[in-house]
Each structure stands twice: as structure tokens, then as C-alpha cells.
């Protein structure tokens, strides 16, 4: 049954894994601009302590998301367990599909 379903629907997990890695990269990228964007702010300026803490957390979460993407990559292409799950949930999720 799983094989029949797999024929019907291609596995796009590689794309989702790329998304996850991109979220991580974006978080790290954003962390580099926190100080410069905050520097000349007129209202709502954050303290140096706040910017330092936020920056460290952004970098940490960026790394976590990239590690998560690598783990999913291993699950998908080394363990191949992701390829056993092929479901289609389009019905009822969006009126446009």
C-alpha cells in the first residue's frame, strides 16, 4: 500500500530540510545586524546587554536548526525511514488546492 502511495505522491522532504537549514542560516544572518540596526535607533533602543544576549541566542538557535536539518537529512537518506511515510493531507487544509 505504501508503495502505491509513493507512486502517487513524490517525497519532497529534501525541500523541507532545505527550508529548515535556511531558517537557521537566516537566524545567524540576522544576529550579525542586531547591533548595527540598534545603534542609531531613536525610540525602543535596546541596551548593550540585551543585544549581546539576543545575539547569542539567535546564533544558538541558528545552529540548533541547522543540526536539526542534518539529523533529518540522515533520517531521510541514510536511515530512509522518512520515505516510508507518504501521506496527502491537501484535502481540508486549504480551500485553494
Amino acid at each position: 500500500m505504501a508503495a502505491v502511495n509513493m507512486k502517487k505522491r513524490k517525497n519532497h522532504n529534501w525541500c523541507g530540510i532545505t527550508f529548515l537549514a535556511c531558517y537557521g542560516l537566516f537566524t545567524i544572518y540576522a544576529s550579525f545586524f542586531l547591533s548595527s540596526l540598534n545603534k542609531d535607533k531613536i525610540i525602543g533602543k535596546l541596551s548593550n546587554e540585551a543585544i549581546a544576549g539576543i545575539k547569542e541566542s539567535f546564533i544558538l538557535w541558528g545552529i540548533i536548526m541547522i543540526i536539526g536539518a542534518i539529523l533529518l537529512l540522515i533520517r531521510e537518506y541514510v536511515l530512509k525511514s522518512g520515505q516510508e511515510e507518504v501521506k496527502d493531507t491537501e484535502r481540508g487544509v486549504s480551500p485553494h488546492y
Binding site: Y23, G53, I54, L72, E76, G82, K87, V93, S94, Y97
Partner: protein
């Protein structure tokens, strides 16, 4: 340890839970409304009602017991007024066109729905349009902060319903929470029971739905409305408590303001939106204000929460075997979603937030914002549904 690091790191975990709750629970206000109007199916609406009910009651208890003092909770209370009605109508129409609210957008975009990425792009464009044109040209800040009788209520204690009704009584938040919370929970319970009765009648057997199963925990099955609602509430409580106990500033859930930060980060190598002053002179207005970016911090905890929510939704979609790159059959939907996204972005900025930041958090703040936002939001979504039925 740096308290801001602690705050953002824990709120990042809350974002992952939020993403899982959204994606597995299909928590989308538009989907809930469309299913209710078109298919008489209330399953998703039940989840939202449970989320509202549980979280409102929890916030009432937290504030009445003094776990988070009322004074601290009140600092984050929004002003309410005419802009909630106007913004919610525009926002509701926008999300109706896109087929996804702000929570639905995150889980759909994270699950590979391409049109929702276009909606997100529209919101980013709409936010910039509001920030540099609508905000300074209408002197928006003045009309928000200037109290107009019957049209606006000042932020903080003035817009705190327990204070308006019961003065400084510590049990005030609990009583208000009881009124709103029991209403939402009761409605959720009624709709759940009615749905069970309907299914039982159709199947000829007593239908019951488990709140939680192993398959739900392993991401193999969609979450029941009650589990989705409970996780939704847990996330709001984590955000509220963590922000207070780390940086002593209670934070409420919000999704659209972070998109302003995303605009700033994306454009940072080219232009600093936070310091680009837009001194537009408008002679008919009392005073001139600069662009919207200058009144929001460069980062709020919700900025990280939104990113990890996307990550949580994408991860659970992959683990559940439901991730798919979905392109709509009619390519015109991309344009519809882009326009809808702009309306969504502008509407959310006018209303000072979206269905999460103003509607849900409005109730959690015990302000009038949520009460004002709800009717025109539903009207906007209904008009968008009728509009689409007429043109397609």
C-alpha cells in the same frame, strides 16, 4: 547568565511547540471559518476556542495569585479603539483572500504551500508601505495615543478590564477571566459534543475522539482540537512567565510585528529601516511623525518565536510525512495572495497586531482590543469568502 539570552532561548523552545501545535492541529482562523460556513465542520474552531478558554483562565489565575503582578502585566496592555475595527476588517479580508490567517500562514508556508510564501512576501511589502507612507502621512501615532472619547482607550491600566470593573481588587483578573474563559470553553465544549453527536448518528455508533494518542505524539496523526488548543495555551503561558521572570517585562504572543524585524534584517545590507527617518510634512495634522520602524525595538522575543515556529511546523510536517511543495493549479492565486498579503500587513499594523497579537493576546491582556477586533475580523473573512465565490 544573560537574562535576555535565557529569555530568547526558552521562548525559542516555545516556538517549536507552537509550530507543532499549529501544523498538527491545523490551527487556522480562516480554515476554521471557511469550514464552518461552507461545510458546517467545527473541528478546527473547537481547537481555537479551547486555546482561548484555557489560556484566558490561566492568565487570570496567574495575575490574581500575583505570580506575575498586575502592575507588570498591565505594562504590556495595548491601547484599544477605532483602529481595531478598521484594521481587523482589512486584515480579515486580506487573510480571507489568502486562505490563511497569521498562524495558518506559518504552518502552511512551513509545510510547502507556495502561495503562502507569496502571502508572506505581500505582508513584508505591506508592512513597509504602512511604515513609510500610511504611518507618517496620517500621523498614525497621534491618533492612537491621543484619547478620543468613545473612539480610543489609552494603553496600560486605562484599558485593563479588571481595573475598569473592579478597581484594584486582586481577584479582578480572575473574575474577568472566568467570564471570558468560561464563554470560550463552554462554546468549544458545546461544539465538540454536537460534532460527536452528529458523527455518532451518521455511523450508528457512539463516537468518541481521544484527546491524545501515541500516534499524535509521534506526529503520525493530526492533533485533536483539545490537544492543539492546550498546546496553544501552554505556549502563551510559557512566553508570559519566562519573559517576566527573566527580564521582568511580561510579553504577550504576537506574530506580525516580527515581520517588521524581518524586513529590517533582509534589507540591512542595503538600508537601515530603523534610522531612515521619514519626515513627511502633512499640514492638516497636529504634528509630524517619522516612520513606523522607529517605534519598535530591533528585536522582540516574538521575532525568534516566529522563526522557531516556522522550524517546528516544517519539522513536524516532515516527520509526519506531510511535507509537500504545493503549487496552486491557478497561477493567478499567487497574485491574489500577494494582494491579500499586502492588505493583511497593512490591516495588522493599523490594528496594532493580528489575530494572535491583538485578538488572542487582547483577551489575554484583558483589554478591549480582542473584543473590538473579533466582529470585524469575522466580517472581513466572510466578505472575502463571498468575494471569491462571486469571482471564481
Amino acid at each position: 547568565m544573560n537574562p535576555y539570552f535565557l529569555e530568547y532561548t526558552i521562548i525559542g523552545i516555545a516556538g517549536l511547540i507552537f509550530g507543532a501545535a499549529l501544523e498538527r492541529g491545523r490551527m487556522c482562523f480562516v480554515l476554521a471559518t471557511n469550514n464552518m460556513f461552507m461545510a458546517r465542520d467545527t473541528k478546527i474552531l473547537e481547537g481555537i476556542l479551547w486555546a482561548f478558554g484555557i489560556s484566558i483562565l490561566a492568565f487570570g489565575i496567574i495575575e490574581s495569585l500575583g505570580i506575575v503582578p498586575i502592575q507588570a502585566a498591565v505594562e504590556g496592555v495595548f491601547p484599544s479603539g477605532w483602529y481595531d475595527l478598521v484594521g481587523a476588517l482589512l486584515f480579515g479580508f486580506g487573510i480571507g483572500l489568502c486562505g490563511a490567517c497569521m498562524s495558518g500562514l506559518i504552518f502552511r508556508a512551513g509545510s510547502g504551500f507556495t502561495q503562502n510564501w507569496m502571502q508572506l512576501f505581500g505582508i513584508l511589502v505591506g508592512t513597509i508601505f504602512f511604515a513609510f507612507f500610511i504611518f507618517p502621512l496620517t500621523n498614525f501615532l497621534y491618533w492612537i495615543l491621543h484619547t478620543i472619547p468613545w473612539l480610543t482607550i489609552k494603553p496600560g491600566l486605562s484599558d485593563y478590564i479588571p481595573h475598569q470593573w473592579f478597581g484594584d481588587a486582586v481577584w479582578g483578573p480572575f473574575v474577568v477571566a472566568l467570564i471570558f474563559g468560561v464563554f470560550f470553553l463552554g462554546l468549544g465544549l458545546y461544539l465538540t459534543k454536537r460534532r460527536f453527536a452528529k458523527i455518532s448518528k451518521e455511523r450508528g455508533e457512539n463516537y468518541k475522539e481521544p484527546v491524545i494518542t501515541w500516534d499524535m505524539l509521534k506526529f503520525k496523526e493530526a492533533y485533536s482540537p483539545r490537544l492543539g488548543g492546550l498546546l496553544f495555551a501552554v505556549v502563551a503561558i510559557i512566553v508570559f512567565l519566562v519573559s517576566y521572570f527573566t527580564v521582568h517585562k511580561a510579553a504577550y504572543m504576537g506574530v506580525t510585528t516580527p515581520y517588521g524585524s524581518f524586513d529590517a534584517y533582509i534589507l540591512a545590507p542595503f538600508i537601515n529601516l530603523f534610522t531612515t527617518v521619514g519626515h513627511y510634512k502633512a499640514s492638516f495634522l497636529p504634528k509630524v511623525s517619522s516612520n513606523w520602524f522607529q517605534i519598535v525595538p530591533v528585536a522582540i522575543p516574538m521575532t525568534l518565536l516566529v522563526i522557531t515556529t516556522f522550524a517546528g511546523a516544517t519539522a513536524t510536517a516532515i516527520l509526519g510525512g506531510e511535507f509537500k511543495w504545493r503549487v496552486p493549479k491557478r497561477k493567478i492565486m499567487f497574485l491574489q495572495n500577494f494582494i491579500g498579503g499586502i492588505l493583511t500587513g497593512v490591516g495588522a499594523r493599523i490594528a496594532l497586531g493580528c489575530n494572535i497579537g491583538t485578538l488572542w493576546s487582547g483577551f489575554l491582556m484583558f483589554s478591549w482590543a480582542g473584543v473590538l477586533f473579533l466582529p470585524t475580523l469575522v466580517l472581513g473573512m466572510y466578505l472575502a469568502l463571498k468575494f471569491q465565490q462571486a469571482i471564481w
